[in-house]
């Protein structure tokens, strides 16, 4: 995307905002934009900022462009508070939304095109670009749902789900403790620990290793969450059955990856340990395990997602009356979709935080690995 086309895009966005002043905002009889002081000011400000962004070259246009996007988004959201517009928005309104979208896309393009030399600036950009992209997606979701008046039973707006999230924090916290702290974490620790231990034993006795690796590969490809009903039958409705499913689901990926990792130590290093007269325990802790760490972390990351899925699916087969999976299925049955989305958000946040923590631990312990040294 070259400079002149970017400029043209910003000019089009400015024109779109200004056209919103003239066209009808709603299919029903609603006052036009000039009759509403706050949205009017915001719209004009956005149009001016877009024009300014079009005038500036290179990275300079990003700041006014983003400010304009903020003003435009605020204007459309302020308009949606009018019940005459929400649900029956018309050409003028959608033109403004399209203009905001266009300008935001142009900003993302400009940001992505910046090639900075300093490392910290690059990191900041790598964070800012996807965040901005995500914010635009959420904005469009909100505006489209409210503008078209999509029934909340089908898809609630993000703001409604967020309000529900904030209003039911105690319930969410209980569900979080039940599903995540009890089911997922306990099962994860046991499953990954057992997988690692068996891998160490299998690495020591080659016969066992040659038998276990193909079987482990086979089992980790099976739909193991299907054992959930059996575990519920064996361990009861409470968290132990969920933890058992998580143990089973996380065991095989860890076994397979740890076996591969323990075999990753090179011959030269092994010979070196032998020339030091190291016994097996020393070789294990000082050579095999550190060399296997990248593989083990790979399994830990795969398992972080698998564990959460396993626990939630197991809850569909029976729970005491709490837990993320239980809440999702009952609230979906009651058509309280905003609560469902609040639980989804909870699960998403928990999943990402879990994954992020594992990734951070990986950075801290495998900083020596070539994939981090670049």
């Amino acid at each position: 995307m070259n400079g002149s086309r970017l400029r043209l895009g910003f000019l089009a966005a400015a024109a779109g905002m200004l056209l919103g002043l003239l066209l009808p905002l709603s299919a029903e009889a609603a006052p036009l934009l000039p009759a509403r002081p706050l949205p009017l000011v915001l719209t004009i400000a956005a149009a001016l900022l877009f024009a300014l962004a079009a005038g500036l070259r290179g990275a300079g246009g990003v700041a006014p462009g983003l400010a304009g996007v903020l003003c435009g988004a605020a204007a459309t959201l302020a308009l949606l508070r009018d019940p005459g517009i929400a649900g029956s928005a018309a050409a003028g309104f959608w033109l403004m939304v399209a203009a905001v979208w266009l300008a935001a896309a142009l900003c993302v393009m400009r940001l992505a095109a910046i090639r900075s030399r300093s490392l910290s600036a690059r990191r900041l950009l790598d964070l800012a670009v996807p965040l901005l992209f995500g914010a635009v997606v959420f904005y469009l979701w909100e505006v489209l749902v409210r503008g078209f008046g999509v029934p909340p039973v089908l898809l609630p707006s993000p703001s409604a789900a967020a309000a529900r999230f904030a209003a039911s924090l105690p319930i969410l916290w209980q569900d979080f403790v039940q599903t995540f702290i009890r089911g997922v974490l306990i099962g994860y620790v046991i499953g990954c620990g057992a997988g690692l231990l068996v891998a160490i034993v299998a690495n020591r006795f080659a016969f066992l290793g040659r038998g276990l690796l193909p079987l482990g590969n086979f089992f980790s490809a099976l739909p193991l969450v299907g054992v959930a009903p059996i575990m519920v039958m064996w361990f009861g409705f409470d968290w132990p059955s969920k933890a058992a499913v998580v143990v089973l689901v996380t065991f095989f990926p860890m076994l397979v990856n740890a076996l591969a990792g323990l075999a990753a130590a090179g011959h030269v290093e092994r010979d070196l340990m032998r020339s030091y007269g190291a016994d097996y325990r020393q070789t294990l802790t000082k050579l095999y395990l550190p060399a296997a760490l990248p593989f083990i972390f790979n399994a830990l990351k795969i398992n972080a997602t698998l564990a959460l899925i396993g626990a939630i699916v197991a809850e569909f087969f029976g729970t005491p009356t709490l837990g993320i999976g239980f809440r999702i299925s009952t609230e979906a049955g009651r058509m309280a979709i905003d609560m469902v989305w609040a639980e989804i958000a909870l699960a998403a946040i928990a999943g990402m935080a879990f994954y992020g923590l594992v990734a951070l631990a990986e950075r801290a312990t495998t900083f020596w690995h070539p994939s981090y040294r670049t």
Binding site: A112, P130, F133, V153, R210, I324
Partner: protein, 308 residues
């Protein structure tokens, strides 16, 4: 993974010498036999109390061998013995007409069709996303992090909601399940193909430029062939995860068809043997599907002239 198998096998002691195939199969067979033995012992131990109660309720005297024989034949055991599972499996596969609701073939076919449709949709979506990401720096920077994030969210757990919502929209049957499968299976394909499309080294790309190749030519003549191994690696993960998605998506449809519905019905009515035979069907389905992808990989590899 076969490479790592070799690596594990490397430091072995000189215990067994023989045909290489024998060398590979003996350890596997040993462990499988050990697992089956453990299973039998566990079945005896876990069902013992159940059977003893039954005997004592009828107040018939019993011997230890009768007790053990009883644990193998209980109707609703805590853990059915392997031969019970296999008998139930064979019965439900061959004992009923193919379209009877008690036939496991029928349920497997329902799940299989959702799995395959979802797999095809997911693979196409995955390849399309990878193409877009490789050709646009903006998308690589803005979309790729979200694709990765999307998989940290326990999507599978949301499958039932999806089904409920799509059902409210009037979409029922195969498509909602396939959408879940597709959502799950596009990810490994996308990640693999992004890696694959960018795997040609700069020298080769430079060579294409000296020939003034168009982007389409670079894609079809260099990037695509280079990405094929990555494609199959991604497809193998995608097809297993697609099967899992289809099974979990069947859970909320309770009384209807599919392996997942079979699992749920079995857990409602305490029919453990039925659950286990459904699990066996899922396992066979999973290995057959992976085998098919592996076969396709070998055929395509031979056509492209790569050495196995």
């Amino acid at each position: 993974m076969t490479n790592s198998a070799m690596a594990v096998a490397a430091p072995r002691r000189r215990a067994l010498h023989g045909h290489p195939l024998l060398d590979r199969l003996v350890p596997i067979a040993t462990i499988v036999l050990a697992l089956i033995a453990i299973w039998y012992v566990a079945a005896v131990l876990m069902n013992m109390a159940l059977v003893r109660d039954a005997f004592e309720r009828e107040e018939t005297p019993y011997t230890a061998s009768e007790l053990i024989a009883g644990t193998m034949e209980a109707e609703r055991p805590l853990l059915p013995a392997p031969h019970q599972v296999i008998a139930a499996f064979v019965d439900s596969v061959f004992g009923y007409p193919l379209n009877a609701p008690r036939s496991l073939v029928y349920h497997s076919a329902v799940t299989l069709s959702a799995t395959l449709l979802g797999f095809v949709l997911g693979a196409l979506l995955g390849i399309a996303l990878a193409l877009m990401i490789v050709h646009s720096r903006v998308l690589e920077k803005s979309l790729l992090p979200w694709i990765i994030c999307s998989q940290m969210v326990p999507i599978l757990a949301l499958a039932p909601i999806f089904i409920v919502v799509l059902g409210a929209l009037g979409l029922q049957g195969l498509l909602p399940k396939s959408i879940i499968s597709a959502y799950l299976s596009f990810f490994p394909v996308t990640i693999g193909m992004v890696k694959g499309f960018t795997s040609p080294d700069p020298m080769q790309l430079d060579l294409m430029r000296t020939w003034s190749a168009t982007p389409a030519q670079v894609l079809t003549k260099l990037r695509w062939p280079a990405a094929v191994p990555y494609l199959f690696a991604g497809l193998k993960v995608a097809i297993t995860i697609s099967l899992i998605g289809a099974i979990v998506a069947e859970l909320p449809t309770g009384g209807e068809a599919g392996i997942g519905a079979r699992l749920l019905a079995g857990s409602y009515y305490g029919q453990t043997v039925q659950i286990w035979s459904a699990l066996l069907a899922a396992a066979i389905l999973a290995s057959a599907l992976i085998g098919l992808v592996g076969l396709a990989e070998r055929v395509v590899g031979r056509q492209m002239g790569t050495r196995p």
